[in-house]
């Protein structure tokens, strides 16, 4: 008997094609890298050291991020105060903060000549040293502790208000609340947050480039860069890239099933009314944690602004040129990302689960430097890689942002198809009309957020471009890194302020576009 009409779906091949293109780009890089790797593989003591350091710093970064996030999230979950919303929103800021800008801020505060060291000097104590393991972990905690806080806060805020009402009625003391309500959630969310941060830190490059280095503090990602840039040993870079893929890939696979989803509004809901923890001591404790977290976040940000303003006048003309370059790289990246993310997310939203997870896996496991190395090898015989540095940077950035964008868009896409799929099908809406009239207006808010995120990540990215760029071409983060490397600290601080403004500005532009006319 004839099979009757299908359930509602947008019949397009754009999704599989877009996803296939991304796969092919990554696979081509991988094959190019593998072909260059020399056999038998030599894995020297320096490589082992890099591997050990990569895993160890990721472990410590994830551990401290989650440990400090717990009391901060707990304080935020059970207190309601003026500025709470702003603070929770600010917890999202490190995510779009260019790494090198944050490093600059951390150096001003915690560096050898930084504020804290000067304070210690007053008491005759030696200055801090934040180069090496301490610095790398500090920077990673700066970036990821807020993320962990939001994930845990999100989990606790999802506990129904009725349960806290019941707890209040029974007069449960804070330890009992922790045992019965908070701990079960923490046990679910905590390992996921730890795993996510661990995997993110495995492929961290810019932090290691600026604060690490040397035999005791080189990550695999940094070792790829050094093999490539200083020794021009493509064979060794290739071997290290494969090691990176195996390490990050297996960690991502292991972590995949406990990775938490990432949402735009994460942890931004109203606090649940709670009746516990009203004692003065606990209030003081929570206030301390919130204050410490806010200071840890805000003081380095303030330092960037404070030291950047006088630096603006010191900046060489190349900074403005680089800023312009960065704007178009980020724009190209965002356009490509949106063009890929829309068809892929609507496709995955209509297929069974698993697709998004697989995509996330690639995003987390494939290191940008590995892809960059691969494409350098592929391009090299035909053209000067430096000529294509910016395009490749934009494309690799788009690939890296894709898993986040798809994860952000997919729930909204699913919602559209659930709510309006039948209506659209019944009216014969399909193809461009379906996108224009139904899908885009309904997913505008998450689309703006995803585009803003990708623009900010791209404009602040200091990764692939370091492999490709020559002296004539630089993005703003690279230009800033060069200024820092030549000890033009004030000019670098000025560039940091420009970069910070651009990253936040591009994010705001896209996000505001998404929110405008966003309605029921």
């Amino acid at each position: 008997m004839a099979r009757n009409a299908q359930p509602v779906r947008t019949g397009t091949i754009a999704g599989p094609v877009a996803a296939g293109t991304v796969f092919a780009l990554i696979l081509a890089a991988l094959v190019a890298v593998a072909a260059k790797a020399e056999l038998p593989v030599r894995f020297g003591p320096a490589d082992w050291a890099a591997l050990r350091f990569t895993v160890w710093q990721s472990f410590l970064s994830a551990l401290f991020s989650v440990l400090f996030a717990i009391p901060v999230a707990r304080a935020l979950a059970r207190r309601s105060f003026v500025g709470r919303r702003v603070l929770v929103t600010l917890l999202g800021a490190p995510f779009i903060l260019p790494v090198i800008v944050a490093v600059m801020g951390l150096l001003v505060v915690f560096g050898g000549a930084g504020w804290v060291s000067q304070g210690l000097g007053l008491f005759g104590l030696p200055p801090l040293s934040i180069y090496g393991l301490e610095g790398v972990v500090l920077a990673h905690v700066f970036f990821n502790m807020p993320l962990a806080t939001r994930l845990i806060l999100q989990g606790w805020q999802a506990i129904p208000a009725e349960q806290f009402r019941l707890a209040g009625q029974l007069g449960l003391p804070p330890p009992a609340i922790f045992r019965t309500l908070e701990w079960p959630v923490l046990r679910q969310v905590g390992p996921g947050a730890f795993a996510l941060i661990f995997v993110i830190c495995l492929t961290s490059f810019a932090v290691a480039l600026t604060l690490g280095g040397g035999p005791r503090a080189t990550t695999i990602e940094l070792a790829i860069y050094q093999a490539f840039r200083f020794e021009f040993d493509l064979g060794r870079a290739a071997v290290l890239s494969l090691v990176q893929l195996v390490v990050a890939g297996s960690a991502a696979v292991a972590a995949l099933w406990i990775l938490p989803p990432i949402a735009a509004q994460m942890g931004r809901g109203r606090p649940v009314r709670r009746w516990d923890a009203q004692g003065t001591g606990l209030r003081l404790l929570d206030a301390t944690w919130i204050g410490l977290a806010a200071a840890f976040l805000l003081v380095p940000l303030g330092a960037i602004v404070g030291s950047g303003v006088p630096g603006l006048a010191q900046m060489p003309a190349q900074v403005w040129q680089a800023a312009w370059t960065s704007i178009w790289v980020a724009t190209l990246c965002t356009v490509v990302l949106v063009a890929l993310a829309l068809p892929i997310s609507i496709w995955l939203a209509q297929t069974r689960r698993g697709g998004a997870e697989a995509l996330t896996l690639i995003g987390l496991a494939a290191s940008p430097l590995m892809i960059g190395t691969g494409w350098f090898i592929l391009i090299n015989p035909f053209a000067a890689p430096a000529d294509l540095a910016l395009v490749v940077t934009a494309l690799v950035n788009a690939t890296m942002g894709l898993p986040f964008a798809v994860r952000i868009l997919m729930p909204a896409m699913r919602q559209v198809m659930t709510d309006y799929g039948r209506l659209s099908a019944g009216l014969g809406l399909s193809g461009p009309a379906l996108w224009r009239i139904v899908i885009l207006p309904r997913v505008r808010t998450p689309l703006g957020f995803a585009a803003g995120l990708s623009a900010a990540l791209s404009i602040g990215d200091l990764g692939v471009v370091t492999l490709f760029a020559d002296n004539d071409r630089a993005t703003l983060p690279l230009q800033m890194y060069r200024l820092m490397g030549s000890y033009r600290t004030e000019a670098a601080a000025g560039a940091a302020l420009v970069l910070l403004t651009l990253a936040l500005g591009m994010f705001w532009l896209c996000d505001a576009w998404g929110r405008r006319h966003a309605e029921g």
């Binding site: 008997m1 004839a2 099979r3 009757n4 009409a5 299908q6 359930p7 509602v8 709510d419 309006y420 039948r422 209506l423 099908a425 019944g426 009216l427 014969g428 809406l429 399909s430 461009p432 009309a433 009239i437 139904v438 207006p441 309904r442 006319h517 309605e519 029921g520």
Partner: protein
Amino acid sequence: MRGGDDMLKVDGLHIAQGDFELGADFAVAKGQRVAVIGPSGAGKSTLLNAIGGYIESTGTINVNGQDVSAAAPDRRGIAMLFQDGNLFPHLTLAQNVGLGLRPALRLNPAEQTRVRAALDSVGLAKLGQRKPGDVSGGQQSRAALARVLVQGRPLLLLDEPFAALGPALRGEMLDLTSTVARDTGATVLMITHAPEDAKRAADQVIFVDGGRAQAPRPVREIMSNPPEALRAYLGS
């Protein structure tokens, strides 16, 4: 059955969803208003969704003499109103109605006039530029009916689109539906829970129970002498 006069004819229709199964063989004559009643979970909604082409089924579905079993929902000569989500919240009422004429929404002046006339005839002449969120539930229902009006499809399926309205408003909407159906010459299948709705707005009743959709019978006959299963459902 007088084959040529059937608006809807289902033969060997079979729907399977997990443990749930529903079979149907019946025909509905042109111009009839048919109430579909039955206990919740019996498969009323499933039946209409299968006829509309929104869920998979086997067997044949004929609408207006055409076999539409494999056609897309918009190619079946059917307009359907769902329990909710009948209007796009980000479009104005006029745009929502306009979608019934042209899915790409680029209407020519004559079509715009038709949209205005349709809004006028359901009493929404002044509200075309409002969005669904800015009007009442009853006005939203009217806008959806205005779209049905411009669609001009020969078969109209109603999956309790007025369930959220109060009894008085619901009655009003059922009357308006009858008017719209009369004006467009449409045959109507409507799911309802209330026997008084069936009496008010239907000529025939299809009773769905025990995995079968029974053939339609005149509403007066079935209400005055309900079969055992229907009596149990109605509680009379």
